[in-house]
Assembly symmetry: C2
Homo-oligomer: 462 residues x 2
């Protein structure tokens, strides 16, 4: 392997949505100011997009195996889609939803499933309380909430156990929040949960399709936006970063087969992946504490392609919520043309980890059996089955994002966005609005670009 050496003004680590937004924003600003600047984007994978990944199957169907939704109120994602004139369409939601709960299958409309009144009231009351508490968490500094110490001392699961009387309500809320955090409610702190809820507006928005985070899809798949953004950028694929030497004057970034000197560096890796990079000198303890202490959730997408969206004929929307597994939640993920029919099931937390222990054909069998319970035996015979378990992806090590166990956000939260020497931190985990979502990744990249632009001096020619 030959060690090529290059130099640039800004090295962006990671060509996910945070890195791409940062690189485009810097290029835009330099162009507008007629300041020449060289931005190099270093990406470990053989593609751009990060935790967004669209693939085309043997039959020509495109499938989003990573982030796929434009949510209501996600301004930054809407902005970037508009900039590149990428067309969208509403998520398929017509028809009755299915609830499979304690062995009983019922149909319902809207967001309120048919459950005993005590359970429904329990859920509604808990959502009300959570939304109220969430509003008290400052998005720029969750650790400054008046009750931050109390809320960060307990897990979200502890709060549910101590505050929600109905077991069914607790279970429904656990499953709901598991679809948001991709981790068991016991593992993340109440403070982080409240921040996350506020960051995405409220619990209804996080959990909903119409008017919520799952409202709109991208024609052809979300990765199209990443590819459009990457056009014209200097993106180097298959260059995992192994070591970053830094000082007040700049940094040297060592990738496999390439060394890049840069005046400023934007790191977009999620915190646990930052631990896989050797920093010389070491980063401050508070920053390291985030790398050590914020694990990724575990999530996978299981997708079956059918000639037709057969559930629609039965008046079903393709959406299901269930206390059985492996997929607790499903969506109709079909393309806008209406054909083929695409069913999408999510596996999360322990359910994802269990499924990950199976072979591909075992996974297919158990997921299709699950789809059949929800939508009938036609679900057993798709054209194609495909899945992606993100905790097996070495450049993600989990999904959707990294979360804070109790105690961490209060003690080390301020280090999330705190630049260190020439190093700036982006990535959806650093976002204040829609943290954990594509929208948050984009705004974090734009924010890091602003930080860097404040420091850039015109590059001496040569």
């Amino acid at each position: 392997m030959s060690e090529n050496e290059e130099s640039c003004d800004v090295a962006v680590l990671g060509a996910g949505f945070a890195g791409l937004a940062a690189a485009v924003a810097i290029a835009d600003a330099c162009k507008a100011g007629a300041k020449p600047c060289k931005v190099v984007v270093l990406e470990a994978r053989e593609r751009v997009g990060g935790r967004v990944y669209t693939t085309t199957l043997a039959d020509g169907t495109w499938v989003d195996l990573g982030g796929q939704w434009l949510g209501a109120g996600q301004e930054r994602l809407a902005h970037w889609l508009a900039r590149y004139r990428i067309a969208t369409y509403p998520t398929w939601t017509k028809g009755d939803n299915v609830l499979l709960w304690q062995g009983q299958r019922t149909r319902y409309r809207g967001t309120i499933p048919k459950l005993p009144l005590t359970a429904l009231l329990g859920v509604a009351w808990a959502q009300l309380r959570l939304d109220r508490m969430a509003k008290q968490v400052p998005l720029e500094a969750p650790w400054q909430a008046r009750k931050a110490a109390e809320w960060d001392a307990q897990s979200f699961g502890s709060w549910l156990a101590n505050n929600v009387g109905s077991e069914q309500a607790r279970q429904l809320l656990s499953i709901g929040m598991e679809t948001v955090f991709a981790e068991h409610a016991n593992n993340y702190s109440l403070l982080h949960a409240l921040f996350y809820i506020h960051s995405g507006k409220n619990t209804d928005t996080l959990l909903g399709s119409e008017g919520g985070a799952q409202e709109t899809r991208v024609r052809g798949g979300m990765q199209r936006l990443a590819e459009a953004m990457a056009q014209g950028l200097d993106v180097r694929l298959e260059r995992p970063v192994r070591r970053v030497q830094w000082s007040a004057d700049g940094a040297v970034v060592h990738c496999d087969g390439l060394t890049v000197k840069a005046a400023r560096v934007i790191l977009t890796l999620p915190p646990p992946l930052c631990s896989e990079v050797a920093f010389e000198p070491p980063l401050p303890p508070s920053r390291q504490a985030l790398h050590q202490g914020m694990p990724m959730g575990a999530a996978g997408k299981c997708v079956a392609i059918y000639d037709e969206p057969f559930w629609r004929k039965a008046g079903l929307s393709g959406m299901c919520v269930s206390d059985e597994g492996p997929c607790h939640v499903t969506f109709d993920s079909s393309p806008p043309e209406g054909k083929p029919g695409v069913l999408l099931g999510f596996v999360e937390a322990d359910g994802a980890r269990e499924l990950g222990k199976q072979t591909e054909s075992e996974r297919q069998k158990s997921v299709l059996a699950c789809f059949a319970k929800y939508f009938g035996d036609q679900a057993l015979t798709p054209r194609i089955y495909v899945d992606k378990l993100w905790e097996h992806d070495p450049w993600a090590r989990g999904c959707y994002g990294a979360f804070c166990p109790p105690g961490l956000l209060l003690a080390h939260g301020p280090a999330l966005r705190q630049p260190t020497g020439p190093l700036h931190f982006a990535g959806t985990e650093t976002a204040t609005v829609w943290s954990g979502y594509i929208d948050g990744a984009l705004s974090s990249g734009e924010r890091a670009a602003r930080e860097v632009l404040g420091h850039l001096s015109p590059r001496p020619s040569g």
Copy 2:
């Protein structure tokens, strides 16, 4: 840097007590069985000992800046000390202890400070309950405790808040456990705390000197044992491991400037440091979840050397417990000869992190002011002041050990000691008895050696 290549039967990663015990045990067994085998120990630091570190100051005084005690009932450490005929002496404890609590300074004997009766009863009752619950946690498999799910759902801090009525009792228990875990009670799970207590016998043992974990010292410092163990081993210093390629047939370990092929590998790095090594192929998700999810505590030792142990003349033991900082707990850490006088103060968790933000002279000033509050103004003028904040050490990234936030031990505990292909896991975090202590590190190395010896076939000559 020239890339040397070597091959061996067993590569041991880390020359701390786990790695040294593993390497010696394998060498012993091979010698006993007349099986030739080559063991190479790869160490990132320029010394052996890991989180045990003895240094000699300008005046000739030796000081333990890392692990320093042989506790009551620590059989494995006693065994290894005896094997190398390393002399010990009792920790200096004669005299009254000091309690500085809510601004009031009192003296007391033994382990029970002078506090209001409700606080003392609250502490005693909590210890009784914790010890009882701890006994129900199986040391080999904490996740199989009957109440494992309930106990792992909450932080130790949540349990204190919900179960200990007296605020002073809660505070005293928090400070006590902070000296054990080097982390705030909100950050680690009740299940992990209970396992840890059982692993070290009970709460009194963990917190005590006489009859407890802080009973005995090593003449000349604990690192002497590490150096004795390293004699005759093939230890390569300053060889940080960057990448491990592995398959069913063996592994290739890439260090700075050296590549070692090995049939078996023993990794003794604490879980968060394992994330800094690139594994190809990636390790299973459950193992990765431990690397991502078990952060290190933060702890530092602050040491002042005086011509005489002046506190003894005042009838004081040098031990103090206080709700003020930066050092909440102090010990007389003098050598057996009685001179000079060595005061040792611990900083832990947020206290350690705060101190770590100061310059060396600021740290000295605040620690000595703290010692003076406890033992009088003579404490202000030591011969020498020295400290070590372990979270600033790039090859420890914290101390004393890695802990489990809520939810982690239950979900991923079984991966702690589960070998993966040719890779075996040791280190005090994997120990069942005295986990988190030197004794646990030693037994974990011996256990990993037994695993590896079961797999080793005689090496073909050449």
